[in-house]
Amino acid sequence: MLKVNNVTKTYGKNDMAFDALKNINVEFKPGTTTAIIGKSGSGKSTLLHILTGLDRPTNGDITDDGKSIFKDFDTDTWRGQSIGIVFQQFFLQPNNSVLENVALPLKIQGVKKKERLAKAQIALDKVDLGERAKTRANDLSGGQKQRVAIARALVTDPTLLIADEPTGNLDSENSQNIEDLLFELNKKIGTTIIIVTHDEDLAKRCQKVIYLKDGVVVKGLK
């Protein structure tokens, strides 16, 4: 279980110091869906970066099954193996095939080509894009690109999938499809999902909603 323990993040120093997060305590139980919601500047992105180990808290810690992700793990390796991240802007490699894009995290982990492509194909099948494996990423629609990004996040069999505004760049129909896909994956595979969003309708579909305002959790229950 991933736990946020008393996390504070301060930017700047002395008179210019600014707390983006203040004493945050949250836990994400396995197999649950959680939405982190709040306005721009509320601290959502900062919390996401700290949750994924891309940034370090000024105070406090993040633990995975009781172990600090910063002290007890090699944070980069932990992130690669335990976390799948879905970005608003997809971040696909446009000239590479869909299959190569999905296999990228495994390539970074040093998995052999044959094995990683096989796993990538399985991940693509999970998002119903198995038949587009050889298509160039640039030739896909926005919705399909986000499906590929989700497959890429799933390919390492992570314990936690973090989606940062996953429908922010999509039209309403595609947004709906992607939301449905995320919740379906949660039900079928049991992946713990955290969605960072400012979309209240999407947040309402999650089992838990964390409202952030000025770096503080103002509501932590649904």
Binding site: L54, D74, D76, Q81, F91, I108, Q109, G110, K113, R152
Partner: protein
């Protein structure tokens, strides 16, 4: 990330910006091209010198002169004035000042380390007449047994081979022959003037044909006849010698031997010295040419640094993505470092291919134009070790050039990188 995947990713990254990669490779390959040609030229000339003089490297034979006789005294327009010394005979037109006197020869024989002294008698002929009656100029030298010759037909002549000569392979027309084998046993008449101006004819038999080198005269005559003719041609029957051949005893090193001679006012030069001097000159020229190539390579290195900095900027978001997907800083560093190394490898291979093509063309043109007639010379000769050294050196240099961009890439904040527009 596995090293093969890093190399594959770096290689496909290079293919993304085709024009920029092409221009960078072009600049590296121009540097490599000039470096390979300058090394190949040095090697080609060195090979030729070795083919001509290499066998002389271990010959125990020195040409000994009076000290300074090989240098230039007063008398040449571009020299500094030399103070007059009344104890020395230095009349500028008197070249006899450098001839070895009987006392010099006696001193030499008494010098420690001298195994024997040979007088280099030289006969001078007006012409030679072939069995067909054709007359030819006849540049000759005495056959010195210690100096190796490559016999291509017949046999060598030794000190006892009276009335025998050897001809260069290119001089067999003197024997009226079309092949080296045909020349053996043929009689050639040589004509010379004695000291009183009388014409004398002497018949010689061709005993051997040899492959000529740079330092060979085309006709070699046995020592007995050479001495007789030289004495007949010299005033009062006493030839003068500017130098003599000496051999060194085995108990002294080359350096000790030369030092002994120097102490008694003699200079000694071996055939190996000539070989080494020529090779030294070639090495000097080679280094100078390589230095010019170095400037071209340096310019291309700036191109490599620029290319990689551009690549880091262009791929900032991708670097952020890699980090977000679990890549360590060192993986990002390795991706760019390998990319720089690959630029060096591909650039040097391209330059070497061009250099090999140029080598083929230049050697072909040279053999048919300005080097026509010089057998055995291959002007450019790029060797396999040189190829390996060039590729490793260029790849190492581009790797070093890529370290700063690679470091910059690896130090990017992944969050900022993902936000980069």
């Amino acid at each position: 990330m596995r090293i093969l995947d890093i190399a594959g990713t770096a290689n496909s990254n290079l293919r993304r910006s085709k024009l920029r990669t092409f221009l960078t490779l072009l600049s590296i390959s121009i540097g490599t091209f000039t470096l390979a040609l300058s090394l190949g030229l040095g090697q080609g000339v060195r090979n030729y010198i070795t083919s001509q003089l290499g066998e002389y490297q271990d010959v125990n034979l020195y040409q000994v002169t009076r000290q300074g006789a090989n240098g230039v005294g007063a008398g040449f327009g571009n020299n500094e004035p030399v103070k007059y010394d009344p104890t020395k005979n230095t009349a500028s037109a008197d070249i006899s000042q450098n001839f070895l006197k009987d006392s010099d020869l006696a001193t030499l024989k008494d010098t420690e380390g001298i195994a024997n002294v040979q007088l280099p008698y030289a006969a001078s002929f007006e012409y030679a007449t072939s069995p067909d009656g054709d007359k030819y100029q006849a540049p000759t030298e005495v056959r010195v047994p210690q100096i190796p010759v490559k016999v291509v037909a017949g046999g060598d002549i030794n000190t006892e081979s009276k009335d025998n000569i050897m001809l260069s392979r290119k001089y067999i027309a003197l024997a009226g022959a079309d092949s080296s084998e045909q020349a053996i046993g043929k009689q050639v008449s040589f004509t010379y003037k004695n000291a009183s101006g009388q014409i004398v004819n002497k018949m010689f038999t061709v005993k051997g044909v040899f492959e000529p080198t740079l330092v060979d005269l085309p006709i070699k005559i046995n020592q007995i006849d050479t001495q007789q003719i030289a004495e007949a041609q010299a005033p009062f029957g006493k030839p003068s010698f500017y130098y003599v051949y000496v051999s060194r005893t085995s108990n002294l090193t080359n350096e000790q031997f030369k030092k002994n001679l120097k102490a008694k006012n003699f200079d000694a030069n071996s055939l190996a010295d000539i070989n080494n001097t020529l090779n030294g000159i070639v090495t000097g020229v080679q280094i100078s040419l390589a230095a010019f190539s170095g400037i071209a390579i340096l310019a291309s290195i700036i191109g490599v640094i620029n290319t990689l900095f551009m690549a880091v900027l262009e791929r900032t978001r991708e670097i952020g993505l890699f980090r977000a997907l679990g890549a360590k800083r060192k993986t990002v560093f390795a991706l760019f470092a390998v990319e720089a190394t690959l630029l060096g490898i591909w650039g040097s291979i391209t330059g070497l291919v061009a250099a090999f093509l140029a080598q083929l063309a230049i050697n072909n043109i040279a053999a048919n134009t300005f080097l026509k007639g010089i057998e055995g010379i291959q002007l450019l000769n790029i060797t396999a070790p040189q190829v390996a050294i060039i590729i490793v050196a260029i790849a190492s240099i581009t790797l070093i050039a890529g370290l700063i961009p690679a470091l910059k890439a690896s130090r990017l904040d992944p969050i900022e990188a993902l936000r980069y527009e």
